[in-house]
């Protein structure tokens, strides 16, 4: 046996091997994949269809005093229906709540995938796999980056499925100047948020050996991240203190960016702010992650 290994190494050496392993574990496990798809379907059909906010006004038939002439009553009803559409459009940006929440759902699946990405780190540590990897010349940063990258790829695939499902069970009221370029923008926004969020959750897991702790953190954070954002309901209608939270919640920015790109007419200024925030969020937390992985992966 020759001793010549002919190995080639760089800073990202081993990154794809480890990412690929996580992805394989994912797509080889059809149950997890199915659940990941079924969950947003349930949310969209239950919440999106059941909470027919637009219908609240259009299906509403007020009993008007009989003193008002019939003709006028009809006019009032028509005006009310028109007003409700205006109200919906002004507050939700679209007359159709299903479309509004379906796009929010994309942020939702991305968020969930990111949250559970820390779990696999805990398992790798528990099962000794992490130690084995640490005894190989894999760059320490790659170990963490692989976890982030596989979470990002999974998140984007799931978000695509959600968008597809929303289109099928729709109707999805796509914005007037929607192009393929917008779709690329959507992926960019979701890429950034999943990168930032999974960095945070993997960081929490980096020294943890108990999946219970990780579960508790996920449970603690998922509701505030979800509801203290504009993913399901517009922040503008929330009380002041809650609005402050939505303003630091990255889910808000990702959702706003995707809505603008899919449903609305794009407001370039607001979109730039969204991307700036998401970009900073992703860069800051993944950098912290890589720096800390050098420090904390081995004691």
């Amino acid at each position: 046996m020759s001793r010549n290994n002919g190995n080639s190494k760089n800073a990202l050496h081993g990154l794809w091997a480890l990412t690929n392993r996580d992805l394989k574990k994912w797509y080889k496990n059809p149950i997890i994949l199915m659940l990941g798809i079924i969950q947003p379907i349930i949310w969209m059909s239950l919440l999106g269809k059941a909470m027919n906010l637009g219908g609240m006004f259009t299906n509403f038939s007020p009993t008007l005093p009989s003193s008002i002439p019939l003709q006028l009553q009809e006019q009032i009803k028509a005006a009310m229906s028109d007003l409700s559409k205006q109200a919906m459009t002004q507050i939700f940006g679209t007359a159709d709540y299903f479309s509004y929440m379906a796009v929010g759902m994309m942020s939702f699946v991305v968020m969930f995938t990111a949250m559970f990405s820390g779990m696999s780190m805990v398992f790798d540590r528990r099962l000794g796999f992490l130690n084995k990897v640490l005894s190989t010349p894999v760059a320490r940063g790659s170990i963490l980056m692989a976890k982030i990258l596989s979470a990002v790829i999974r998140a984007l695939v799931q978000a695509t499925i959600v968008l597809g499902i929303a289109y099928v069970i729709g109707p999805l009221s796509v914005g007037p100047d929607f192009t393929v370029l917008n779709l690329l923008g959507v992926y960019a926004a979701l890429f950034l948020i999943s990168m930032g969020l999974s960095s945070i959750f993997i960081l929490i897991a980096i020294r943890s050996t108990r999946q219970e702790t990780q579960m508790a953190v996920v449970n603690l954070l998922n509701l505030p991240l979800m509801f203290a954002s504009n993913a399901l309901f517009p922040a503008s209608l929330m009380p002041e203190w809650l609005q402050t939270i939505t303003k630091i919640n990255p889910v808000t920015y990702a959702t706003d960016a995707t809505r603008q790109l899919i449903l609305y007419t794009v407001d370039m200024h607001q979109l730039a702010i969204d991307f700036l925030f998401l970009g900073a969020f992703a860069v800051v937390f993944s950098t912290i992650g890589i720096v800390l992985s050098w420090r904390y992966l081995s004691k």
Binding site: R3, G6, N131, K132, V138, T209, S298
Partner: protein, 342 residues
């Protein structure tokens, strides 16, 4: 490999500022030998191995593995070592070959080369037939063999095995021993293994070090260690053993040493078979009745008992107090020690 494969000087690991797991350990492993690290659970074996394979930073001291310093040139060490951890680390969701290929990728071995090596290694550990089956379907022995294949993918100079036969049945254990012997003979590999099975160390190792409470107590070839005991070991019990007859026994010729342990006398004696009747006569002459007598040729068990004052098996069984220390150690190590022990 010529020269020393591992040189350890004053290696120390302190967890949480007060738990000394490994205490100024010194030893040298020569190139091409099988070196056994012996000791009960919690003695510091895994902590030592983890420092040598660069996943744990030493608190003090240094070690050089195949001419690379473990702290200053960790990547140099990682390149030339193979590791088979205590746990089953192969991924259950992947197939055997996928696992081996993953290991190859972690070392950055080019694809065409790694494919060839993976097939070769799977053949060596007799898993070729099962290579496309998910590891979840493998038996314990198959998984251990797969770990061996993974650990060998980079053709290591020094191969680390942490409790390689823990929890294996008799046949699989014997098969694993054969693989280890083969690696040494065919490839001249240096093998560093930890174990708490003394017969395993006796069978396999060219040299052993006995570690207890983080300190190396003795190092040497199993045969030398056994001979250093200076003869056979006789254990003698007498009825109503209140009176100490040690001095009486010591007067018998060829008796080298008498120790009273747990109510019985542990006698080191040359030519045990011939001396035994003389000892019995001497004890009887003073009116004591011999109730039990056993004579053993020294094994590593006796060596261990001699140097630590305890039997390794007793220690496994009496877990009070010791368990507490082990728990503390595991907590300090995090999950590093988890899941490995039956």
């Amino acid at each position: 490999m010529n020269g020393d494969a591992i040189v350890v000087e004053g290696l120390t690991k302190v967890f949480n500022k007060n738990l000394v797991a490994v205490d100024h350990v010194n030893f040298t492993v020569k190139g091409g030998e099988i070196f056994g690290f012996l000791g009960p659970n919690g003695a510091g074996k895994t902590t030592t191995i983890n420092m040598l394979i660069t996943i744990l930073r030493p608190t003090e001291g240094s070690a050089v593995v195949c001419n690379h310093d473990i702290t200053r040139d960790a990547n140099g060490v990682r390149d030339c070592i193979g590791v088979v951890p205590q746990e089953y680390t192969a991924d259950e969701d992947l197939t055997g070959i996928e696992n081996v290929m993953l290991c190859a990728d972690l070392y950055g071995i080019p694809r065409d080369e790694s494919k060839k090596r993976a097939e070769e290694l799977l053949k060596l550990v007799e898993l070729t037939k099962f290579k496309d089956k998910q590891v979840a379907t493998y038996s314990g022995g198959m998984r251990r063999r797969l770990e061996l294949a993974c650990g060998l993918i980079n053709r290591p100079h020094v191969f680390f095995l942490d409790e390689p036969t823990l929890g294996l049945d008799v046949q699989t254990r014997a098969a694993t021993w054969n693989y280890i012997k083969l690696l040494q003979k065919e490839f001249g590999m240096t093998i560093f293994m930890t174990t708490h099975y003394l017969e395993e160390a006796d069978m396999l190792c060219d040299r052993v070090a006995i570690i207890d409470h983080g300190k190396i107590i003795v190092t040497g070839a199993p045969n030398d260690l056994k001979e250093s005991l200076g003869g056979d070991i006789m254990t003698l019990s007498i009825q109503d053993g209140k009176e100490d007859v040690s001095d009486l026994i010591k007067k018998v010729p060829k008796v080298k040493e008498v120790k009273k342990q747990d109510g019985a006398y542990r006698i080191k004696v040359v030519d045990g078979e011939e001396t035994a009747p003389t000892i019995i006569d001497a004890v009887r002459a003073e009116g004591h009745k011999v109730t039990r007598l056993s004579l053993t040729k020294p094994t590593l068990d006796e060596v261990y008992l001699e140097y630590t004052g305890r039997s390794i098996r007793e220690e496994e069984e009496s877990k009070e107090g010791f368990a507490a220390q082990r728990m503390a150690m595991r907590k300090a190590r995090g999950a590093r020690a988890m899941g490995g022990h039956p």
